[in-house]
Symmetry: C2
Subunit: 662 residues, 2 copies
């Protein structure tokens, strides 16, 4: 009676031996995994990957390659060289139409944004001439409409006003704005050349939504100045200061209701045309030219009725002609240089973020991808040249890009058409704009704001990710109640704090074998069908890095799980005698993490539980080797998969049983 079971046991043992061979082979693969690159190599690789665009550009092997390399380098820098050769007259028809539509929206917006930035109106128009032309030869987006935008204008006025009051010394203020623009351009170009495009990502989607919403409200409140016709306003941008200034003006000043009536009626007109344009896609040009139409009609009205003598505030100062040089206005030796550079950095980054976000979303609609680094270089050069030709910081405008897109632009030629049109109007029409009422400019800006406040997106963020929503409202309220920079800082701060918190609050999960599979182990919370093996506790570390910040808490969680499982199984089953620590998720480990593993091993051994490590990654296993961790944990207790670890434990048990049987 004995041989029969003995034989079956010997077959079983043979099978076990085969399994064990496979396991051992896999463990050998794991233990002999190749060395990762050394720290210096890795650092160099990472830097060169970031900084150098392509490896062969700088070290071509022959002259033909060299020529081709130079041409492809130039093509990369000036995309017009590649698309220009395929440009067809048919495309120009579309670009001309789009460019003209764009110009009709751009002229009133530029004047309004210059007003928002506390600059004379012609600077807004200048900014719509030179930067679009530079972008046309260097930029790779086909839809982006370049020029002044609301948020950057607000940022400039809010931050430069803290250094020089434009009401006191407008010339010094204007010089500072050009210097800031120069710095913004330099930073943008430098980031692009150093391939630091990822910096733009630090303003997350949620942060942008909140920031834009807050900025739009702030910009709207700023327009109350022109809309009501206030003479003495505040330089601060937060809601409380602005509302206090508005209420004070009701007391102190004699306000003419004409400004308000004029502004509101044209605002209603512009919004009505937009409504019509949305209902009937063919009338897309109506909302686009409505602002210009409003400006012309209102200017004529004021001119004919001499309303400016009855309290209607008008633009007055307006210098026409080509962009004058502003090289001599740049100040690089003032006492505020550090502050100016800081403002340049912030404006540059915000401008880039807006442009790249807008550019990418339209590019993905047309199915091509925008290289962030190239865009940064283009924007940088465009702003450097702009700062030398009396332009302030330009970027891609959301509202005008949308108009450009719906007007059917084919290439960036529409920007060239727009720039030329604006230039012509600078030459011919500026004298006519003398009588333009400020209230109309306010209504043009106000009409562009609803596009910046995206309540649907905020609701979507709230539904999907609560922490992102906190970032979003952090930016929103920061901008609204403190200042624009603080709002940005809050958003970036919360975003990064969240990454750190995620690492600190690393969790662990118990895994079980999924029914119907051999070697698939899953979280038993996510898959309640997964079953655990009696006596074996499989724990996965849910963190990308096992480091000083979470090592202690992970050890405590593991010990708690062991105690808990033993407590629950006390009455029914055997106690845990094997703890499998699945490290597949752990990409990096530091010295604290390794010390923790050794401590955990000691602690488990004192409760007569064997610690097993499953699937450590390349970096982790190499660090463990260097730290001689396996000498302490035991080399036999490292497996490639959880399945191997469990099987090894079970086969040990069967071997125990068979040896006790016979």
């Amino acid at each position: 009676m004995c041989p029969q079971p003995n034989e079956s046991i010997s077959i079983e043992l043979q099978q076990l031996q085969l399994d064990a061979d496979g396991r051992n082979e896999r463990t050998q693969w794991l233990l002999n995994s190749p060395e990762p690159p050394s720290f210096c190599n890795e650092l160099m690789n990472s830097v060169s990957e970031t900084v150098l665009p392509q490896k062969n550009i700088f070290f071509p092997s022959n002259s033909k390659q060299c020529k081709a390399g130079v041409f492809s380098f130039l093509q990369g820098l000036f995309p017009i060289l590649s698309w220009g050769r395929n440009y067809k007259p048919n495309m120009f028809k579309h670009d001309l139409l789009a460019g003209l539509t764009l110009a009709s929206l751009c002229i009133p917006q530029s004047i309004g944004y210059a007003n928002l930035a506390n600059l004379e109106p012609q600077y807004g128009l200048y900014t719509s001439v030179v930067p679009p032309l530079i972008y046309a030869v260097m930029g790779s987006s086909r839809e982006l409409a370049i020029g002044p935008v609301a948020v950057v204008s607000l940022l400039l006025s809010a931050m430069v006003t803290e250094i020089v009051d434009p009401a006191v010394d407008p010339i010094a203020y204007t010089s500072l704005v050009f210097t800031v623009t120069f710095f913004a351009g330099t930073f943008q170009a430098a980031f692009g050349l150093l391939r630091l495009g990822f910096l733009v990502d630090f303003l997350s989607h949620a942060a942008i939504v909140g920031f834009m919403g807050g900025a739009a409200i702030i910009i709207g409140l700023q327009q109350l100045k022109s809309l009501i016709g206030i003479s003495h306003f505040t330089n601060k941008t937060d809601v409380v200061s602005v509302l206090r200034a508005v209420f004070r003006s009701f007391h102190d000043e004699a306000l003419s209701p004409m400004n308000f009536i004029l502004g509101c009626s044209f605002l209603i007109f512009i919004l009505a045309t937009r409504f019509i344009g949305k209902r009937n896609k063919k009338l897309f040009w109506l909302p686009a030219i409505a602002p210009l139409l409003s400006v012309i009609v209102a200017t004529l009205m004021v001119y004919l009725t001499k309303a400016d003598q009855h309290g209607v505030k008008i633009v007055k100062h307006f210098k026409g002609g080509l962009n004058p040089s502003s090289v001599h206005q740049l100040q690089f030796n003032g006492p505020h240089l550090g502050q100016v550079a800081k403002i340049g950095l912030i404006c540059g980054l915000v401008a880039l973020t807006e442009a790249i976000a807008v550019g990418r979303s339209f590019a993905s609609m047309k199915g091509y991808h925008l290289d962030g680094n190239k865009e940064m270089v283009a924007m940088g050069f465009m702003n450097i040249v702009g700062s030398l030709t009396s332009c302030y910081t330009a970027t891609g405008s959301f509202s005008r890009t949308a108009v450009n897109f719906s007007a059917g632009c084919e290439t960036v030629v529409s920007n060239i058409v727009m720039a030329i049109t604006v230039f012509i109007s600078l030459e011919l029409l500026t004298k006519l704009l003398y009588y333009t009422p400020l209230a109309i400019l306010a209504s043009v800006i106000l009409s562009a704001l609803p596009g910046l406040i995206d309540i649907n997106e905020a609701y979507h963020i709230w539904k999907v990710d609560k922490m992102d929503f906190i970032v979003c409202i952090g930016a929103f309220f920061g901008v609204l109640f403190v200042s624009v920079e603080i709002g940005l800082l809050i958003a970036v701060g919360i975003s990064f704090a969240r990454i750190i918190l995620d690492t600190i609050r690393a969790s662990t999960e118990v895994q079980g074998r999924l029914p119907g599979t051999l070697d698939t182990f899953c979280d038993i919370t996510q898959y309640p069908r997964a079953t655990s093996t009696s006596g074996i506790l499989i724990i996965r570390i849910n963190s990308g890095s096992l480091c000083f910040a979470n090592a202690t808490s992970i050890r405590e969680r593991v010990m708690k799980l062991v105690t808990h499982t033993n407590g629950n199984e006390e009455n029914t089953k055997e106690n845990v005698h094997l703890a499998v620590l699945d490290m597949s998720n752990v990409m990096s480990v530091d010295t604290s993490g390794i010390v923790m593993l050794e401590e955990l091993h000691r602690e488990l051994v004192s409760q007569s539980i064997q610690l097993t490590i499953a699937n450590p990654r390349l970096r982790v296993i190499n660090k463990m080797k260097t730290a001689k961790c396996f000498d302490k944990l035991g080399k036999g207790w490292i497996f490639l998969t959880i399945g191997d670890a469990v099987d090894a434990c079970l086969s040990l048990k069967i071997a125990d049983l068979s040896s006790t049987n016979c």
Copy 2:
């Protein structure tokens, strides 16, 4: 001839059908995974898990449970209640010996550290009386020797001196030190009660090694004052200032070489005894009593030779007797309250870090675990009571704990024995200590410093983890060349910057099937044996979170991998037509991450490649569901494992083939 293949195909198709059923079932499990807890629930759970020690303590169900709960709560707060009942006379023998050895080391060290903290010597001894007694009833470590320590004394003197100069107003300085101690205790107790024990982990192992090394050198340099006998020293702690002060004193002051000779000869004696103690474990008491012996011998020498009249600097002021009350000295309404609280916070955290690090390493030697939160409460109360009884910030000393351990202490009773011995010497011996030369105190402190500089550990850190080494030398040089706080800040800053960098520089890896396994896919860099399936590219995201900071770079990496693979396989095999994105590592995703997945899908589709998601985790899949991401990606292309995704793709191909065959 046709039926045969047809039949085999139909069997194959049946098998495929079975496989597909299994796959579909698993995908259903994946898609119908349970809802994770809502944001509010999760927040509440996390807070209650952090703050509340046990759930049933506050809401007991009956009076018996209530009594037991109260008792276990008291036992938790006062561990003496649990170990005290098992205390045996045999243990006391060991504790008495350890306590006496400890006291003999503690008395000279306490006087020296008080000197380092710019306090009168008796305050050092006071600090070795009350805090150890409080810790004895509340603490749970059995080896920790409580009292003043070098690093905290240095921190106090460095930071409080910036507010009040002890040379100008020693009484105000002393009051501020007590107030700082009160704040330190309050913060420690609060952190413990709020279960914020993890705060201590923010000073990583590497940071502590670097910080301690730097602090030891700074402390050593401070001792030059007493060792050379300088009268006018600097208040700054950085190397440059101290060395400048020393060289200046050589010029300006008439220094007596006696101080130096006395200090150095006794330093050599103490170090020699330590060497002997290390060689012969039975003589462990020799290095422990050597400092006291040196003090006694040197004091007698000075008293007998009247060397104090020949330039040897002596302690002079020394008030004996029991700790006086210092309640009236605490200042809570001065202009420096904020600064004092900040110093209290820093000192409290550093003291905790040292105590818990020392306590844990000795606890793990004896095989028990120390609860960080309970220790924090004990330390906090000990310092609060200390601040009311003329003690400055006390904590667990590394050197004395080691002596306590090797003297064979059994419980914290050795601390009680030590406190009583110190108290008796305060009553009887203080008059004798009048003539103690300062140079001897310097040599006592200097002899304790080598234990703080751990070059071997620094080398180990360098070998295992280069980034940790940067943290370590950052702390070291920060302490050495700037200031103690800046050194700490640098270390914590680099540590956290590293976590953020790890997330930003998330990588991707190509996976292949491991030979001899059915469903095990591994990184082909780590396991060069793993083979890829033609036409299928399996990419794993190597990051715990897919978020704004890395979404763009991950998308670019995936696209680059696809382009690269297509480029390589152009000549030989078919192009990639399926990209499997293995998301097993991704624990959390934010809105930017989800937008990225949708964009990636669009971009891949435009190159006619199908995107497949494998093994999204619970949080990820629920966020994707909420964001309606599957509607865009296609529900049929989500699988639980990579194997399922690959099989599904292959079976589609076979089905295609069979349909084209017949």
